[in-house]
Amino acid sequence: MLGEGIIKGMVVTATNFFGSYVSAERLVTVQYPEERLPPQENARNFPFLVYDGDDPDRGLRCVACKICEKECPPQCIYIVLERDEKGKPQKRPRIFDLDISVCMSCQICVEVCPFDAVKMDTEYELSDFDRFKSLLLNKQRLAKSNTYYRKIHPAEAEEVDARLADQVAKAEAKRKATAMAAATAVKPAPAAQPALSQ
C-alpha cells in the first residue's frame, strides 16, 4: 500500500517523542550550564605543570629539559632555562609559555616527559575575548599542585606518585651507598683516588 512506509516511520517518531518522557535511553540531552556530565577519568584538554608541596616555584617538577618543546607537533611550547648570575643552569624553567590557542590537546608532551611534570587538565570553560591575555599561559598560570592532579585523574596520579616515590627511594639508597663508599674509600692510601673520581 502506498504510504505504508511513511506511516511506519511516523510510528517510530511518535515512539521516540513519547518515549523521551519516560526513557533515559531516548532523552540524552543535558541542559548544559545547569546540568553537567560527570567528569571522565581519562578526559584531557590542555596541559599543565605539576608541582609538589605548597610552593609552585620551588616544587615545580619541570627541569626545563625542552623535550616537550621539541616533540610538540604544533610547536606551542616555549621554554627558557633558568640560570644563576654566573650563568650556571638551574634545572628549572625561567619561562614556560604554552599557547593553548595553538595546542591541539594531543597529549604527546605528557607522554614524552621523563619527569612526569606535564599532565593534562580537564578544565574546558576557557573561552575569552582576548587571545593573548587569557590563552597564552605562562608558568604561573600553568603550575597546578599535585593535589589538584590527584583530584582530576585519581588512578593515573596514584600510579605516578608510586613511581616517583620509588625513584626517590632508589636515588636515596644510591646516594647513601656512594656516601658510604666514599667514606670508606677516602680513609686509606691515595692509590684509591683515581678509582673514586670515575
Partner: protein, 406 residues
C-alpha cells in the same frame, strides 16, 4: 556536445566584454545554446553550488551547468580546506604526525590512526601484541558504526528530512563517543594508536559498557530502518539515481561501500586480512544496481556485520601487554626504506605511503584518501540527473572535506 557548449559560453562572455568578472571564467552567465544551423535550442545556466552550502558537507564547490533542471556538466572544485598535511608530516617526527591524522577524516579518527600506525609498523618491523590488535578492531568497528549511522542521517537530511533521522543518529553516536572519551581521553581527536600497539589500556568497566552499546545497536538499526528503508519518499528519491556501473567504478579507483554498492566484491578486510580480521566471521554486503539506494542499503548491512565483528572481538579480547616491547616513543628512526599500509576505513581504502631515509622524520609522506578518489567520479554519476539529485548523490559518496583537501 559539452565542449561546444563551453566554447560557446566562453565566446558569449567575451562578446559581452563589459560585464564585470566574466571575461575569463564565465560563472553565473546565462548562455544560449545554438545548434549547427544557428537556431536556439534552449538556454544553459551555469551555477556554482557551494562552497558554503549545507549540502556540500564542508567547504566544497561544484560548478554545475544546467539545462533546465538537468545536469549537463559538473566540475567539483576542492582545495578550500587544504592545510598542508603531507608537507607538515615530512617536517616533524613520525610520532608528531599521529595527532594530525586524526584531523584527516574527523569523523573516523581511530581508523586514520590505525592506517598510519600500520604503515609505520611495516616500515619499522614492529608487531603489535594480541590485545592491541583486538583493541584496534574494536575501536575501528565502533568508528564504522558512527560513520555509517551519521552518513545516513546526513543523506536523509540532504533529501529534506530536516533533522529527525540525523538526531537519532547523533543520539547513538553520543554513546560511542562517550566510550571513546573514557578510553582515549578525547571524543573525536582520539590520537590513540602508537607504533607497535595502543596508548592506554581499557579503563575498568569499559568493556561492559561497550558490550551494552553493541548489543543494543541492532535494535536501534531496526528502528532506524523501519523509519527509512521502506519510506516511499526515500525510495522514490534514491532508486535509479546516481547509478555507478561496476566497470566505471573499478576504472576510477573507487573503493569502500560505493564500490560494493556497484556489486564489486572488494573489501580490504577480506583481501588483505590486515590485523586480525581473518579470525572474525563476517560477510561483505554487495549492491546490485549501484544507485544511491544501494549505497544506503550496503551501509546499513555493513553496520550489522560490524556489530557481529564487535561481539566476537569483545568476547575474544585476551589479556596481555598493549605495546610491542621493541617500540620506543622518542628517537624513533626507522631504517631507510618504503612502506604502504592500507586499511578498509569506513569510506574506503585509506592508505599511507612512507619513504624513510633513516632520519627521525619521513622523507616522503603520502595519504591515499578514499573520499577524494571517490569524489572524482561525481560528474559521471550526475550527468543527466536533476539538480536536486546532485545533492543526494554527493551525500551518498560520503565525503569529509578534511580528508579530500588534506
Amino acid at each position: 556536445m559539452i565542449n561546444t557548449v563551453t566554447e560557446h559560453a566562453g565566446g558569449a562572455a567575451s562578446s559581452a566584454g563589459n560585464l564585470p568578472g566574466v571575461a575569463t571564467e564565465p560563472n553565473f552567465a546565462i548562455t544560449p545554446k545554438i545548434s549547427g544551423d544557428g537556431s536556439r535550442e534552449g538556454e544553459l545556466l551555469e551555477i556554482s553550488m557551494g562552497p558554503h552550502h549545507p549540502s556540500t558537507h564542508g567547504v566544497f564547490r561544484m560548478d554545475v551547468v544546467l539545462e533546465g533542471e538537468r545536469i549537463v556538466k559538473l566540475k567539483p572544485v576542492f582545495g578550500y580546506l587544504h592545510r598542508n598535511h603531507e608537507k607538515i608530516a615530512e617536517g616533524i617526527s613520525y610520532l608528531g604526525s599521529m595527532p594530525y591524522t586524526d584531523r584527516l577524516d574527523y569523523f573516523c579518527s581511530l581508523t586514520n590512526n590505525w592506517a598510519y600506525a600500520l604503515s609505520v609498523e611495516k616500515l619499522a618491523g614492529l608487531q603489535p601484541p594480541e590485545r592491541a590488535e583486538y583493541l584496534r578492531v574494536i575501536t575501528a568497528e565502533l568508528t564504522r558504526l558512527i560513520n555509517h549511522t551519521c552518513l545516513i542521517g546526513f543523506l536523509v537530511q540532504d533529501m529534506g528530512a530536516l533533522g529527525t533521522p540525523l538526531m537519532y543518529a547523533f543520539r547513538e553516536r553520543e554513546k560511542i563517543l562517550d566510550l571513546f572519551e573514557a578510553l582515549t581521553g578525547a571524543r573525536m581527536m582520539c590520537n590513540y594508536m602508537r607504533f607497535g600497539g595502543c596508548r592506554v589500556d581499557l579503563p575498568p568497566g569499559w568493556l561492559e559498557q561497550a558490550r551494552r552499546v553493541v548489543d543494543n545497536y541492532p535494535r536501534f538499526l531496526d528502528e532506524y530502518e523501519s523509519l527509512l528503508t521502506e519510506n516511499e519518499i526515500l525510495v522514490a528519491r534514491t532508486q535509479g539515481v546516481g547509478v555507478l556501473p561496476a566497470r566505471l567504478a573499478i576504472n576510477a579507483g573507487v573503493t569502500g561501500p560505493m564500490l560494493r554498492a556497484s556489486g564489486v566484491d572488494y573489501d580490504i578486510r577480506k583481501v588483505d586480512r590486515y590485523g586480525i580480521y581473518d579470525r572474525f566471521d563476517f560477510r561483505v554486503p554487495l549492491g546490485a544496481h549501484g544507485d544511491v539506494y544501494d549505497r544506503y542499503m550496503v551501509r546499513v548491512l555493513e553496520m550489522r556485520e560490524s556489530v557481529k565483528i564487535l561481539q566476537q572481538a569483545i568476547r575474544g579480547l585476551p589479556d596481555g601487554p598493549i605495546m610491542d616491547a621493541k617500540a620506543k616513543l622518542r628517537n624513533f628512526r626507522p631504517k631507510a626504506g618504503e612502506a604502504y599500509g592500507r586499511i578498509e576505513c569506513p569510506k574506503g581504502e585509506l592508505g599511507f605511503y612512507l619513504i624513510s631515509d633513516g632520519s627521525p622524520n619521513p622523507y616522503r609522506y603520502r595519504v591515499r584518501p578514499p573520499s577524494f578518489i571517490n569524489l572524482t567520479i561525481l560528474e559521471d554519476m550526475c550527468l543527466g540527473q536533476k539538480v536536486a539529485d546532485v545533492v543526494i548523490i554527493l551525500g551518498s559518496v560520503d565525503i569529509v572535506l578534511g580528508e579530500v583537501d588534506r
